[in-house]
């Protein structure tokens, strides 16, 4: 923990990322304390410009945009984090099983992972959300969580396979340590940064995808989230009557959270790789490619042998 804190303090980009996320989490946790009324309550005349009373203006329905933003933060973060947990748990279990046990287990898991990777994600999610009918935020979190584990599984698998060949794992096997101990004590700490990056990436992906599903009107229009705010702004043609605040607030909220999570990935890089001094790019991207390259090189060496 202290190592992470040190890195965060030193790295300005990571620092701002963590700071923004903390602000969002605070807004979500204390939503009821910050706002005076329910997000669905009509408090003023429709489409009032931002003023002292309503600092982010009001919607077509006369609802306070600030209140909606605060409660929307709660919904969007809750969906993001819960789907993120599902994705990480599934991805990690599948990835480690495939990478560590190898053989038949690996073949089966890898096959399904590869299939899941070539099925177009967003169209499928839209169809699922539509078939289930006005999906609530919980439903959306579940369908995203259970359909988006493939990348995490693939990256974790490749890294596990690489680690498995390391001497310290081999010696643990020779010492007769149990599989569980090897996986939990020897492997997991070295996979921590990949699992963390997977989590951050998944939260970001979920928040974006949820907003997209709801913006298209396939979510529950009565729930308050950033996606339904966008949807309501679109259906009441806020854009065309000049009510820019109704559109801009959820848009900026999503964009800023996206930036914060991207910045946090930098911090993670520095924890996992202390030599990293300057900006090194989004590691998750490199890892994904590294995973594929690694598989290709494995195939090559198989053939050579």
């Amino acid at each position: 923990m202290s190592a992470i804190w040190k890195v965060v303090k030193r790295n300005k980009k990571a620092c701002s990322g963590v700071f923004i996320l903390i602000v969002y989490v605070m807004i979500a946790l204390f939503a009821n304390a910050i706002t005076d009324h329910k997000p669905s309550k009509r408090v003023a005349r429709p489409h009032q410009e931002p003023s002292i009373e309503h600092i982010m203006g009001t919607t077509r329905m006369g609802r306070d945009v600030f209140t909606q933003f605060v409660h929307g933060t709660r919904t969007s973060l809750a969906v993001g984090f819960s789907a993120g947990f599902i994705i990480v748990i599934l991805g990690t279990i599948l990835g480690i099983s495939a990478g560590y046990f190898g053989g038949k287990v690996d073949e089966v898991i890898n096959f399904f992972t590869n299939i899941a990777l070539v099925i177009p994600q967003l169209p499928l999610l839209l169809v699922l959300a539509a078939f289930l009918g006005q999906s609530s935020p919980t439903t959306i979190a579940l369908i995203i969580g259970f359909t988006s584990w493939a990348w995490g599984a693939r990256v974790t698998r490749a890294q596990t396979m690489a680690l498995r060949e390391k001497e310290y794992i081999q010696s643990a096997v020779l010492m007769g340590e149990s599989r569980w101990r090897i996986i939990l004590v020897e492997l997991m700490p070295n996979l921590a940064s990949i699992i963390g990056a997977n989590f951050i990436g998944s939260v970001l992906y979920t928040v974006i995808t949820q907003a997209t599903i709801e913006f298209l009107g396939l979510g529950d229009p009565l729930a308050t989230s950033w996606g339904t705010m966008l949807y309501n702004a679109q259906t009441t043609s806020a854009m065309h009557v000049g009510a820019w605040w109704e559109l801009l607030v959820p848009a900026v909220a999503i964009a800023v959270l996206g930036m914060a999570l991207a910045l946090m990935n930098f911090a993670l890089d520095e924890v996992s790789n202390p030599k990293l001094r300057t900006f090194s790019g989004l590691r998750i991207f490199n890892r994904r490619i590294a995973a594929i390259e690694y598989e290709k090189s494995l195939k090559l060496s198989e053939r050579a042998a």
Partner: protein
């Protein structure tokens, strides 16, 4: 050659799985799709009419396995039945009408992103830590974390509605007849500016980062030092020795991002009311047009598979080690 045939086999199996999934999906949902489709019309239809409609739209009676075989046959002969929404038209008609627009958007934006992203990435890697690198490398990542829906909405609001510089809907001015003349083509171009820019912003960062980080890793390699020692110009070392090898993983990126781009294209088309596949899928979903939805998912899976296969082929072409396998 074994590599190629093994990949082909995998893609065939993958397509089969996707098709099966596509078969199960509407049947898993509560209610009878055909009844649901026509429930919105108000007057209840006679039973025999419903039965006839069921057959027309591919939901034949009988045990599930027979339905499945009939479905597989329709998929492999690419005879996908009729659209509910635009009834006398077949699914193929509906899809082929919108396919070109999506191909246009995705193709042009991918090409632009690949070119700009690769060149900027090479430049950033060669002058790493410089002004350009410190500014644009993080910026491209930040841009990448902003979803297509936000970018397209902001574009639409700023340039379409507030400033009124660019047209806000459809692929061309509908007063014009499609023809190969300047007025029509310029209208198409004008309408494509915002959707394509959105898709470029979504993609370009990925290419920039991939090639930048790869090139940086390659810079220490012996053959780069060797090229320098031979006294070759900096430009030549950068492009012929460095970039050429660093491009390889960009091919993987290309295959990897196609799903993201298809998703981005879907939402962009919806926002700009562009008549592509994504918008058609959205309309089909809203109108419960199951045959079109099924056809859409199939064609998008097919697009993903063929892009991945193309990337594999490019790999065989670029990496001689795979050719001898």
């Amino acid at each position: 050659m074994r590599f190629v045939s093994r990949r082909l086999f995998f893609y065939l199996v993958a397509f089969f799985c996707a098709a099966t999934f596509n078969f199960i999906l509407p049947r898993m949902m509560p209610g009878d799709p055909v009844t649901a489709m026509f429930a919105s019309q108000g007057t209840p239809l006679p039973l025999e009419t419903l039965a006839a409609l069921r057959e027309t739209f591919g939901f034949i009676e009988g045990p599930l396995y027979l339905q499945y075989f009939a479905y597989l046959k329709s998929v492999f002969t690419w005879d996908l039945g009729y659209s509910v929404q635009y009834y006398p038209q077949s699914v193929n008609d509906v899809l082929s009408r919108s396919l070109y627009w999506t191909l246009f958007l995705v193709g042009v934006s991918s090409l632009i992103s690949f070119t700009i992203g690769s060149m900027a990435g090479i430049y950033a890697a060669w002058n790493r830590g410089g002004m350009f690198d410190t500014l644009f490398s993080p910026l491209s990542l930040v841009l990448q974390s902003i979803p297509a829906v936000i970018i397209s909405l902001l574009f639409l609001f700023t340039f379409g509605v507030a400033l009124n510089w660019l047209p806000t809907g459809y692929a061309y001015n509908i007063d014009l007849d499609p023809a190969w003349d300047w007025r029509y083509i310029s209208s198409v171009m004008e309408h494509a500016i915002m959707p394509i820019t959105t898709l470029v912003i979504v993609q370009v960062g990925g290419y920039l980062i991939t090639i930048r980080n790869n090139l940086i890793n390659l810079l220490g390699e012996d053959y780069i030092v060797m090229a320098r020692a031979k006294g070759l110009s900096e430009m030549r070392v950068m492009l012929n020795y460095g970039a050429r090898n660093a491009l390889l993983p960009s091919v993987t990126t290309f295959a990897m991002t196609i799903g993201v781009v298809l998703g981005g294209s879907l939402i962009t088309e919806y926002v700009f009311n562009y008549p592509g596949l994504g918008n058609t899928l959205y309309q089909a979903i809203v109108n419960r047009d199951y045959p079109v939805i099924q056809g859409q998912l199939l064609i998008m899976t097919l697009a993903m598979l063929s892009m991945n296969f193309l990337a594999d082929m490019a790999y065989v072409f670029l990496d001689p080690r795979l050719r001898h396998a």
